[in-house]
Symmetry: C2
Subunit: 126 residues, 2 copies
Amino acid sequence: MVKEKKKESCFKGEELEHGKCMGMIMPVRDALDILSGKWKLPIIISLTFGNKRFSQIAKEIPGITDKMLSKELRDLEMNELVKRTVYDSVPVVVEYSMTAYGKSLNKVIEELRKWGAQHRQRIMKK
Amino acid sequence: MVKEKKKESCFKGEELEHGKCMGMIMPVRDALDILSGKWKLPIIISLTFGNKRFSQIAKEIPGITDKMLSKELRDLEMNELVKRTVYDSVPVVVEYSMTAYGKSLNKVIEELRKWGAQHRQRIMKK
DNA sequence: CAGTATCCTGCACGATACTG
DNA sequence: CAGTATCGTGCAGGATACTG
């Protein structure tokens, strides 16, 4: 969800670089707003490994509560990253899956994973 | 790189997929921990455009307070992403710059920027 | 200029109980 | 099974003032 951003104040003399800088900051913030929080990425990652039901996701993500899982799934659904499908069997089965749009996050996540793994290595050496 | 296409569930006894899943989640969380918060990425991006002094960064990032800038710079320095250099002229000049390690974030940030820009486009159309 | 020192507030997140 | 409903609380972040 795009939150309202504060308008930049323009200072004379540095408008060129300042503009370039803001041009990067804003989209990066947009991306981070979508992904931020403790549970969104874990949920997304879990779903990239296959469609899952509510309780399956809960099991795969240690520590998450029903409330948080429910809320975060709703957020992700609103942003069209995740699709919720209800099969009206008895009892009701609800399946969550990544949308095509959600899958477009793959490269971002892969870069985060690579950097994070390398960072972890680096920390351990000390 | 060989990617096994694994389908389906993570029921009892199926530790394999769960392990793979956790193996992704943890480094991604590590990366996000470093970058999370309202100001870290803006500061990093600002510094990728060149070394800056404290007040220059403050000017380039609308809304940030001295306190937050100071705190975040200290965090980034501790993680060795940013270097702080004091020139003992009069008055004292302090210059902040990205370390080589900090620059290794470039690809991550670029992916975030690309996705964020595209996402912004998508939102605007609605 | 380059920051600290205080004080304050909201809300992200948690614990627990309950439901169709 | 797939979630709500309530009731907390810690801490990220903000406002404002001050300093070497």
